[in-house]
């Protein structure tokens, strides 16, 4: 049986790179086998999108598998 863990995080505000680093750290500490993080938030700064785009594939969980990060925001500020 294949098993895949997705961490789900809800934020009721516009997140920035500090919040992203906090979420990454706590998820890696709490669930070492997580494969993906979905952040459902009101919005995200442009720096968050650029950080995820530049670092995608370079974040690994303690078991060595890459972590995929997805932002699901109400207001897309990636192009503003």
């Amino acid at each position: 049986m294949a098993r895949r863990e997705i961490a789900l995080e809800y934020k009721n505000f516009i997140i920035n790179t500090g919040h992203l680093a906090e979420i990454m750290g706590k998820v890696q500490l709490a669930r070492p086998a997580v494969d993906e993080i979905i952040i459902r938030c009101r919005g995200a700064k442009r720096t968050v999108y650029s950080a995820i785009r530049d670092s995608q594939g370079t974040w690994f969980n303690p078991e060595g598998r890459p972590i995929l990060i997805t932002i699901a925001a109400d207001y897309d500020q990636s192009k503003s």
Partner: protein, 133 residues
């Protein structure tokens, strides 16, 4: 004779019309009153939501979104929800009402093949990203 006939016509024809008009006016007044009451109720609800603290508003946001997601994927057998410490979340009542800062929920996908889990994860990601609840 003509006067009697005119009185009968007034009583038989015009009186019900006037009566209907008066009842319509009463219903209209009732509708206006009920509409004002609904508006006042909605305004009070909006005021109540507006006066929530940031932590309460955050929990309401998490509660609403998580409930919609659970209803959307309720029939998917390969998905189950759990907390960060491993306790299962079977209903929305199991979501902890605590401070923000922990991992809100973990979605565990169990499928016979890795390809299947990738497909389920992609569908779930699309649902959450496009808010297709």
């Amino acid at each position: 004779m003509i006067g009697i006939l005119a009185g009968w016509v007034r009583h038989r024809v015009f009186h019900p019309i006037f009566h209907i008009h008066s009842s319509d006016a009463a219903e209209a007044e009732v509708e206006v009153v009920s509409g004002e009451a609904e508006g006042f109720q909605q305004a009070s609800i909006g005021l109540r939501e507006h006066t929530l603290t940031p932590s309460q508003a955050g929990f309401h946001f998490q509660f609403r979104e998580f409930q919609k997601l659970m209803e959307r994927v309720r029939t998917w057998d390969s998905i189950r929800f759990m907390k960060a410490n491993g306790e299962p979340i079977d209903s929305i009542a199991d979501v902890s009402h605590g401070r923000d800062g922990g991992v809100d929920a973990i979605i565990v996908i169990s499928t016979p093949t890795q390809h299947g889990s990738n497909i389920v994860a992609g569908r779930l990601r699309t649902i959450i990203k496009t808010q297709d609840y």
